[in-house]
């Protein structure tokens, strides 16, 4: 197991958003967290990353406990994070947005500026542009590339397919597959089941802050009841 989360309870102020989430990610897997808006997917990812520390429960990464650590420590141990709202550093250029990660995480590895540009060729053309001037889709790619520059062992993506055109979703699917082939494990939260089916091996379905269903994605997809109840309109 590269990542184990046990009984995470997290909330903001007086409200509890996730009630005892447990999940595992095995090395080399792509795992998808599915569920509608507001189901608690983002909060789960933020708890793992240390951005919203859980009130109880524990998170173990490569056998070491990381619960309650600062996000930067978790990042330096090899967890990359791509938030749903992209959060590009707006006054750094595209190139600086990428390179800065290598500087601060100090993790040697397979990923380099060149390889990120190969993965997303459009970023090469934009390399001197400030982050603020990018379109939503371009920012999404930059956010993924930025996380890769830290050579993460585990890459966490929050709603990567959200707001992308079908063409871009296809690019994204290809990119994620290549990232996995390069030996990075992925944990993805998304609402888009069809997208998830195309990239992920296993999935968890979340609703109202708890996990309702877990299993291989094909199995989930075939379960009419599950799809209808937790995912469909």
């Amino acid at each position: 197991m590269i990542l184990e989360a046990r009984e995470l309870v997290t909330g903001y102020g007086f409200s509890v958003v996730i009630h005892g989430i447990s999940l595992d990610v095995d090395t080399g897997e792509i795992v998808c967290l599915l569920g509608r808006n507001g189901a608690g997917k983002s909060t789960t990812l933020r708890s793992i990353m240390g951005l919203t520390p859980p009130r109880s429960g524990r998170v173990t990464f490569r056998g070491e406990e990381i619960t309650g650590r600062q996000p930067f420590e978790i990042a330096r141990r090899g967890v990359g994070y791509v938030p749903d709202d992209r959060r590009i550093f707006s006054d750094l250029t595209v190139k600086e947005n990428l390179e800065i990660v290598q500087r601060v995480t100090r993790r040697e590895g397979r990923w380099s500026l060149e390889r990120v540009y190969q993965l997303f060729p459009v970023l090469r053309e934009l390399s001197a542009k400030p982050g603020a001037g990018l379109s939503g889709g371009e920012q999404k790619m930059l956010a993924i590339g930025r996380a890769l520059m830290g050579n993460p062992a585990l890459l966490i993506l929050d709603e990567p397919s959200e707001g992308l055109s079908p063409l871009l979703v296809r690019t994204l699917v290809d990119a994620l597959r290549r990232i996995r082939e390069d030996g990075t494990t992925l944990l993805i939260a998304d609402q888009n089941v069809k997208f998830a089916r195309r990239v992920a091996d296993r999935g968890y379905i979340m609703e109202k802050g708890t996990i309702r269903f877990a299993g291989p994605l094909e199995q989930l997809w075939q379960n009419e009841e599950v799809v209808r109840r937790y995912l469909a309109v």
Binding site: Y12, G13, F14, L51, T52
Partner: protein
């Protein structure tokens, strides 16, 4: 809602007021002078706290309105020897200036509001410093008489000596305290507190938020004016430093010291402020370092202020501190 003070508190307050009235019988003139300073700072701070504790706006320019009150009163007393005219004139002048500047200031909140009030306060300071013909420049206005309090056809009271003037300060201060007490417990007071807690919520409850902020700003200016006007005849001399921004910090510290979420906080704070000063000054001329240390300790550990802590100890069921604290992310 705890508006009506408990019986014990009422007895205590009645005794306190009685003691204040009897004070000149036992006190020497230095104590009287100190008592007047405390009363004046209390009024000043109460006004400040209407803005800060109740309406959520931190002003760093209140000394400007204080100075308008003081200079206004002094100018009138130097021309017409009637304390009544002087006080009313100073207060009205401060109120008008506060209203006019308030129209501009309440367009902002938070740090921008603080900076704006700082700028306007310092403009008043520079007028006091530089407009020699009117304000006497850095020499200030000297020889301000403690002229008799005269309401034509009603009464004339001589206030030339300190005891007599003490009663003027005491009565005006008590009236101001009473007025403020009624104000913060009125629908208007509730409205201001609501705006402090959530501006957008108040607006969506139907409150024209800016207008109400202007009302609070003007009243705070009036109170600063009352305090300033009372100071002029006490000191006989008024100089520009009373308008400087560092003078604006005095009501801030007094309020913080006493507590911002309890009505009496600023009064207790004003008392502590002068007591601390009076005691420390006996041992060392460096009393500000101690005051600074106290401010730091209060901010770090006791943001409710001394009176809040007392209230919590004595009446633990009455919440005075905000119940919602932001969770550390």
């Amino acid at each position: 809602m705890g508006v009506r003070p408990s019986r014990r508190l009422a007895v205590f307050l009645a005794a306190l007021v009685a003691a204040l009235f009897l004070f000149p019988l036992v006190a020497r003139s230095y104590s009287l002078y100190l008592a007047m300073q405390i009363l004046i700072l209390s009024v000043f701070s109460l006004g400040f706290n209407l803005l800060f504790g109740y309406a959520g706006l931190l002003s760093f320019g209140q000394a400007g309105f204080f100075a308008v009150g003081a200079y206004g009163c002094a100018k009138i007393l130097l021309a017409v020897p009637n304390l009544f005219l002087g006080l009313v004139g100073g207060i009205v002048a401060a109120g008008i200036v506060a209203f006019l500047l308030g129209i501009l200031c309440v367009r902002h909140t938070r740090i921008y509001f603080s900076m704006l009030t700082l700028a306007f306060g310092m403009m008043i300071f520079s007028i006091a410093l530089k407009w020699r013909d009117f304000t006497g420049g850095d020499d200030g206005l000297v020889g301000i008489p403690r002229a008799p309090l005269e309401i034509p056809g009603l009464l004339t009271i001589g206030v030339a000596n300190l005891e007599q003037y003490y009663y003027v300060v005491l009565v005006v201060s008590l009236l101001s305290v009473l007025g403020m007490y009624r104000l913060v417990h009125s629908p208007l007071g509730l409205t201001l507190q609501a705006i402090r807690d959530s501006e957008s919520r108040a607006e969506f409850a139907g409150v024209p938020v800016r207008n109400y902020r202007l009302v609070a700003f003007t009243i705070a200016g009036l109170y600063a004016g009352v305090a300033g006007a009372l100071l002029a005849p006490l000191e006989n001399t008024i100089t520009p430093p009373i308008a400087h921004w560092s003078a604006s910090a005095e009501p801030v510290m007094a309020t913080l010291l006493g507590g911002i979420h309890v009505f009496g906080g600023p009064i207790v704070g004003a008392f502590l402020f002068f007591m601390i000063k009076d005691i420390i000054v006996r041992f060392t001329q460096y009393w500000l370092i101690w005051l600074g240390a106290i401010v730091v300790i209060l901010v770090m550990g006791f943001r409710g202020g001394v009176l809040s802590i007392l209230v919590e100890r004595l009446m633990p069921w009455r919440p005075t501190r905000p119940m919602v604290t932001r969770r550390k992310a």
